[in-house]
Assembly symmetry: C2
Homo-oligomer: 244 residues x 2
């Protein structure tokens, strides 16, 4: 454990939420602070917060109440017409999609905090991008279904579709079999250092480790070592603290 | 039409295929040429070839016969354990995932051919990345289902699942409604120039324009103008020529 583990850089984090309109909440963000529109239980929000924490960047969190569907109504739809969190705001500049936010922050602040991509070597960055897209297209689809069915639906009082779970488990197993081979010889997916490629997996893994699907990770020793390592990062623990 | 259209840069392209082993075919690639393992009807292969064409880079195509399942057997599995094309090879360096290949080529050859990302402005690149991930997570899932059911299955002699098609069409419509609003005021998704964000949409659009789902694009005037514009690019027409 602890290969390439880094302390979370100290950051001035200002968290604020009350019964204001979205717009007035927005104005609370200082000009030097990033604003994240998100929700404490949103796994995609955790992804963006983890990067802000890893980079040691100050930010203000603005809660968009997903329980009441605030994200699907104005004024939020004018911030993101897809009606989803997180959204990053920096003055007038705004960005949706947690992975785009992550890559923007890593690129713009490459010398701050943890280095999450290699900006010096095109080939190393190419390998990192390959694992980033493996997460998007191989890991995310089955793990999002399993997360939704087993972790989110019970929270919402909805019934898990076990037929869908049983159809999806073998798809995730096939992906994790490739990961196991990779991680036998590599501390992290894209090499010997923790990168965005690992970080992008954290939200679904975090939830799945609280469901019966945790066995898929625990029965693969190298995957299990990797999961223990990346979920223990202080920046991650701070990102998925739901008390805000 | 034709906003930011660029001529395809002249490139020396060497295409070669015969009854060799994968390994001997690999050795045919010159040291200064990129090698693409792919298949003429593979939409993901077209994506990587389009970038090579846009950048004016020389390459050798090596056919992996998806009809006989060559991609799911050795020796190809040692090239990509996920058993999918395309794979880019440059000497000993290899890369899977068409979007990772695309971003590697664009980054490593930023001053060649068409400029497909803005490497000077973090914010502009951030917006481009946002539209890249919108393609990955919003457009690709429904459009891949519609492509598979309506274009690929008939080619393979399989029966289209019309119930699935009917469930998927409204999902793609919701995405295209957002695109329509965006493209009313913007020549391309990420701004006034053609980027990888547009290019990534081409494979599924190309196939869907030959199916009943083309109406989803044609009934949205700004989307229709954009589709006509990006599918007309010479680099794209060359990429999806199946005669190799």
């Amino acid at each position: 454990m602890g290969v390439n583990a880094s302390d979370v850089p100290t950051a001035t984090t200002c968290d604020h939420y009350c019964n204001q309109t979205l717009e007035s909440r927005h104005k609370d963000g200082g000009v030097n602070n990033y604003i994240i529109y998100g929700f404490p239980y949103s796994t995609n929000t955790w992804r963006a917060l983890a990067v802000l924490n890893e980079k040691g960047l100050p930010y203000t969190r603005i809660k968009v109440d997903l329980r009441s569907g605030e994200q699907k109504k104005q004024p939020f739809l004018s911030i993101n017409p897809f009606g989803q969190v997180p959204v990053l705001k920096d003055g007038e500049f705004k960005l949706a999609e947690s992975r785009a936010i992550s890559e923007y922050l890593e690129t713009a602040h490459r010398s701050s905090g943890s280095q999450l991509l290699d900006h010096e070597s095109y080939k190393t960055m190419g390998t990192q991008k390959m694992w980033i897209y493996i997460e998007s297209f191989k890991f995310d689809p089955p793990s999002t279904i399993l997360n939704y069915e087993q972790a989110i639906k019970p929270l919402m009082g909805l019934k898990t579709d076990y037929k869908l779970v049983n159809e999806t488990v073998p798809k995730l197993e096939k992906v994790l079999d490739v990961y196991e081979e990779r991680l036998k010889n590599s501390s992290f997916l894209a090499g010997e250092s923790f990168t965005l490629a690992d970080l992008y997996h954290l939200p679904n893994i975090q939830n799945l480790m609280g469901t019966p699907s945790k066995i898929l990770f625990e029965t693969r020793p190298s995957v299990h070592r990797w999961v223990a390592n990346i979920t223990a990062r202080p920046a991650w623990k701070k990102a998925c603290d739901v008390n805000w």
